[in-house]
């Protein structure tokens, strides 16, 4: 049994690391106009979580397996059909959400959808920290390649970048970060952490360094303040509070930008 103080510490640490990595990866997703992909992809995890709960294995593994397979399917269909990622994810997401809600035991449904900070263990936190740091290091190595591919696929290819392989690696890393974020924020809201901090940062950035750093900071602050708020109000479902914090940051940035024009 985890004490309340330990659970808060673990949740806070997990939240901060997930927030930083989700913000960092999300900065690319927003640029690639794949914001909805980040959001919808998270829902694909629900059937995986359900299987983990039903068959008594770590739900994180189930969630990651479903996210991983979905990312590969979306990547492959995108290459074969030339349909946008958004179209493909939208189709897959509704199917996964429907299946997930049908098979997940009802008492666990709310926790899977909105997270639970009282259930974060030391192992969860360790996994989250290791995965966050690893994904950020890996994304840093492909960040410029992805941005170059967005500017022009031909330009990237002509300088030796394998755009398709880089995109696949990126989607897999997003799957990992989404999977670890589910514990804190839940499947329904984890996509928010990928999208909104980056959207806020983009408003006030004229270069990539500032943009990616701000996006990571906004992600961390949204997560941490959401977890603290949820603990303070004795509401273990942190997801909605993380969303509230993130939206507050987004609105503050928009207002500051708007006010600076006068």
């Amino acid at each position: 049994m985890i004490s309340v103080a330990d659970a808060l510490t673990f949740s806070l640490l997990t939240g901060i690391f997930v927030g930083i990595s989700a913000g960092y990866l999300g900065s690319l997703m927003v640029l690639e106009k794949m914001a909805l992909v980040g959001d919808a992809l998270s829902h694909v995890a629900l059937p995986g979580l359900a299987l983990g709960i039903l068959y008594n294995f770590n739900p994180f593994l189930g969630a990651f397996a479903f996210l991983f397979v979905s990312a590969v399917i979306i990547w492959h269909l995108g290459r074969v059909t030339k349909l946008s990622y958004e179209t493909l994810v939208a189709a897959l997401f509704t199917l996964a959400l429907a299946i997930g809600i049908l098979i997940i035991p009802e008492p666990d449904l709310l926790e899977a959808l909105f997270g639970n900070i009282n259930n974060v263990s030391l192992l969860d936190t360790t996994i989250a920290v290791i995965i966050s740091v690893t994904t950020m290091i890996l994304v840093k190595t492909i960040y410029s390649k992805i941005v170059l591919g967005m500017i022009s696929e031909e330009l990237a290819t002509s300088t030796g970048v394998n755009v398709a392989r880089t995109n696949l690696l990126y989607l897999l890393l997003v799957s990992l970060v989404v999977a670890i974020g589910i514990k804190i924020v839940g499947t329904l809201l984890v996509g928010f952490l990928v999208v909104v901090p980056a959207a806020a940062a983009k408003n006030v950035s004229s270069n990539l360094l500032r943009y990616s750093v701000l996006s990571s900071v906004f992600g961390a602050v949204s997560s941490a303040s959401g977890v603290l708020l949820s603990s303070f109000l004795n509401q273990p479902k942190a997801g909605p509070f993380v969303v509230l914090s993130g939206i507050s940051i987004f609105l503050t940035v928009v207002i500051i930008k708007w006010a600076s024009k006068f």
């Binding site: 106009k33 410029s144 941005v147 031909e154 330009l155 290819t157 004229s206 270069n207 990539l208 360094l209």
Partner: protein, 227 residues
């Protein structure tokens, strides 16, 4: 006397075909080192596809033979930079972390532009930055797909003149796609007119001869290159 080593590029019977469409048909020509080749033709003539074949980005039949020591710098036609918060310095650093200032001064830009966002540059400035990008790792061949697209008429000539100066100074070979036959004629040594097949290849001045006006204005007639 011409030797085998005078040529940087030899194209023989190059064709690019889709299942139901021929994009390029039986193109053959040779290009000498240190010259400028202008590639002209109407929309859909296969100009960009020719570049893509040069860069191995599309499957093709026939032969594309570059000189052994070739190093290519490429600038495509369409870039999406308006929505990406990226500075000129960051963009150039993607390719090389040194010689940023030298590359910029070669294209007539000073260091103050390094911290500007790519999205706020004028059409002329952006084209110059792209040329700086192409030359930053010291290539000996430059491929430009419409280097003056989105640039006003005055800047257009300035860009062609600058490319010409770069070619002379650095002894590079330039291949560029252009719609402006009348301007590019003054800044290129050779001209290749395409309309899926090759309708003209020769010295640029020749294309203005009355008997060759049909290449630009009339019905295209495919020609074969004779060595």
């Amino acid at each position: 006397m011409e030797s085998h080593n005078d040529y940087i590029l030899k194209i023989s019977n190059l064709s690019v075909k889709l299942p139901n469409e021929t994009i390029l048909d039986n193109i053959s020509f040779e290009l000498k080192k240190g010259t400028t080749l202008a590639i002209v033709g109407p929309n859909g003539a296969g100009k960009t596809t020719l570049f893509r074949a040069f860069l191995n980005l599309v499957p093709y039949s026939g032969k594309i033979e570059w000189d052994n020591k070739v190093k290519i710098g490429y600038v495509p036609q369409r870039l999406s930079v308006s929505d990406i918060p990226i500075s000129v310095r960051e963009f150039l650093t993607f390719k090389s972390t040194s010689d940023l200032e030298n590359s910029l001064s070669s294209v007539g830009l000073d260091n103050s532009i390094l911290n500007k966002s790519l999205g706020v540059l004028s059409g002329g400035q952006l084209q110059r930055v792209l040329i700086a990008w192409a030359i930053i790792d010291k290539p000996n061949v430059l491929l430009f797909d419409e280097p003056t697209a989105g640039v006003d008429l005055d800047s257009e000539e300035a860009i062609y003149k600058m490319l010409n100066d770069l070619r002379k100074k650095n002894e590079i070979t330039i291949l560029l796609i252009s719609h402006d036959v009348h301007i590019i004629i003054n800044y290129s040594d050779y001209m290749l007119a395409l309309n899926k097949c090759m309708t003209f290849f020769g010295e640029s001045k020749e294309i203005m001869k009355p008997e060759l006006q049909s290449v630009i204005y009339g019905e295209p007639v495919c020609v074969e290159h004779h060595r």
